[in-house]
Amino acid sequence: MGHYSTGIIIILVLAALTVVEFYVALATHSAVFLLLIAALKAILVIWFFMHVKRLWSAEGGH
């Protein structure tokens, strides 16, 4: 389970942000708030799931 813990935490955060996004949209139709939440979700996906930092990994290993 230890190998997967980071992914599980990130998925829970992404799910929570999706719910927040949904309720923010009900309260206000502001594109700025919604795009900010989307940008935050995107950063989490790029960093933790797409492993962008591996691009600079000297070893190149997994």
Partner: protein, 210 residues
């Protein structure tokens, strides 16, 4: 003499091993760079679709079923979780976990695709009556263009994961060398990343146009 030859063979083999490892590491770095350049080129395509949405719709949006949007988004998010598990399992040589997680991702991807086809496009009116058409108005045209291009990527992602699953069954990958699986995984997460922006753009931003 025999000892010297043996030691020379050993040194050559060790050198070959080292060179092989360096070759793989270099190829891996180039593969990753190539993949990210591909993502950047794709971002222009999806960015253009988003720009079209904001130009044509402004602060309005079509009347779409909010529950459908939330459910398909959740399904795609779950598929991202299972793909993460598949990728991590391959990294640790847990091939049974990889297999189950890869199939879970493919099935969830298919559910997402069917959700789009049935509920967003309304292609099966006997199940769900959709009110948008690609030629109807600016709302239908943009919805179909955005979801169509995204659905195409979902389908190609499913095919890619299936190919990787078959190769993994044939013991093509090891925990140290599994670029194919990593590529399929980051491609799938990219498809999810695109939807992270498409979901609010289609369903949440602006007031519903009746």
């Amino acid at each position: 003499m025999a000892v010297a030859t043996k030691s020379l063979h050993g040194a050559v083999a060790a050198h070959d091993d080292h060179a092989g490892h360096e070759d793989y590491a270099t190829r891996l770095r180039l593969n990753r760079l190539g993949m990210w350049l591909f993502f950047i080129s794709e971002a222009f395509l999806f960015g253009a679709l988003l720009a079209t949405r904001f130009y044509l719709w402004g602060d309005t949006r079509p009347e779409l079923d909010q529950m459908v949007g939330l459910i398909v988004t959740s399904v795609l998010l779950l598929s991202s979780a299972s793909m993460y598990v598949a990728d991590t399992a391959a990294e640790h040589g847990q091939w049974r976990v990889f297999s189950v997680a890869a199939w879970t991702t493919m099935i969830l991807g298919l559910v997402f695709f069917l959700g789009v086809v049935i509920f967003e496009w309304g292609l099966f009116p006997q199940i769900y009556e959709g009110h948008l058409t690609p030629w109807g108005d600016k709302y239908g045209a943009v919805v179909f263009a955005m979801t169509g291009m995204h659905a195409l990527h979902v389908l190609s992602g499913i095919v890619l994961i299936f190919i990787m699953w078959r190769l993994a069954r044939k013991k093509h990958f090891t925990p140290e060398k599994h670029w194919g699986i990593e590529a399929a995984a980051i491609y799938w997460h990219y498809v999810d990343l695109v939807w992270i922006f498409f979901y609010p753009a289609l369903y949440l931003i602006g007031t519903a146009h009746h």
